[in-house]
Assembly symmetry: C2
Homo-oligomer: 150 residues x 2
């Protein structure tokens, strides 16, 4: 089962380059990243990262992702200022997903909520917005409509 165990694939003296190479990317060259609030444990958002974004995240300590719609790497908060400072990084058993525990500046969500997962679904399928609004989307992005999520 060595292919199913990421830890079995990495060497003891792994460096950033080696780690980036050891991850299992999908056809588009991406891994999935779960971003979690390092203080509360709340899941803040889900995003994707390419090799370069994983490397830049480790090198700088600030979360970088790959935007599938804009087809380029981006730094979280590059426009809104709502950066995510990396506290802890975990990789899963098969090496295709990451959990990043971060210090979130204000809102993770482009709608101004602390978390993107601000809609609670009950067992009957009813949805209630339970989000904490901590920023004003109009101030976050000004008049640029294209900056969703940055």
């Amino acid at each position: 089962m060595s292919n199913d165990n990421f830890f079995g694939r990495v060497s003891e003296n792994q460096d950033i380059k080696g780690f980036v190479m050891a991850l299992k990317y999908d056809r588009a060259g991406l891994v999935t990243v779960v971003v979690q609030d390092a203080l509360t444990g709340d899941v803040l958002m889900l995003a994707h990262a390419d090799r370069k974004a994983v490397r830049k995240t480790l090198e700088t300590g600030v979360m970088h992702f790959y935007s599938r719609s804009r087809k380029k790497m981006w730094r979280k908060g590059e426009e809104s200022g709502n950066e995510q400072l990396l506290e802890n990084l975990y990789v899963d058993c098969d090496g295709d997903a990451l959990v990043a525990q971060v210090r979130q500046v204000k809102a993770a969500c482009h709608l101004g909520y602390r978390s993107c997962f601000s809609n609670h679904v009950d067992r009957n399928g009813r949805v209630i917005n339970v989000g904490r609004k901590v920023d004003d989307p109009r101030k976050m992005y000004g008049k640029k409509k294209s900056a969703r999520g940055s």
Copy 2:
């Protein structure tokens, strides 16, 4: 920005069918599901769900997913017994990802660890296994190699 706001798309008297229809599935007909320990907040695993798996999860209160490798729906724990009982479900701002807070029976990971995210990565790219082994993979799946993750 209504397309970017899932909550703006659902009606007040949403039922399970309506909720399942309102989600935004990828080309393969899947949404991503982050499974989180309802007690500790630990992220336990990442998986995918098709329409049927989302519906079955809400109807039964037990997590159902879609296996991309086996190309079929599966119930977490159907072979290992390590079920996940749904406590809270959240959907993100654009409706293509779910966070499921669950009561996890023993191990979420097919390697017997409580969480799949049991490998810590430091800022130099070094990986350390910090997992808590709570089950024996040999007992979880017997001799069936194909049952990975169930």
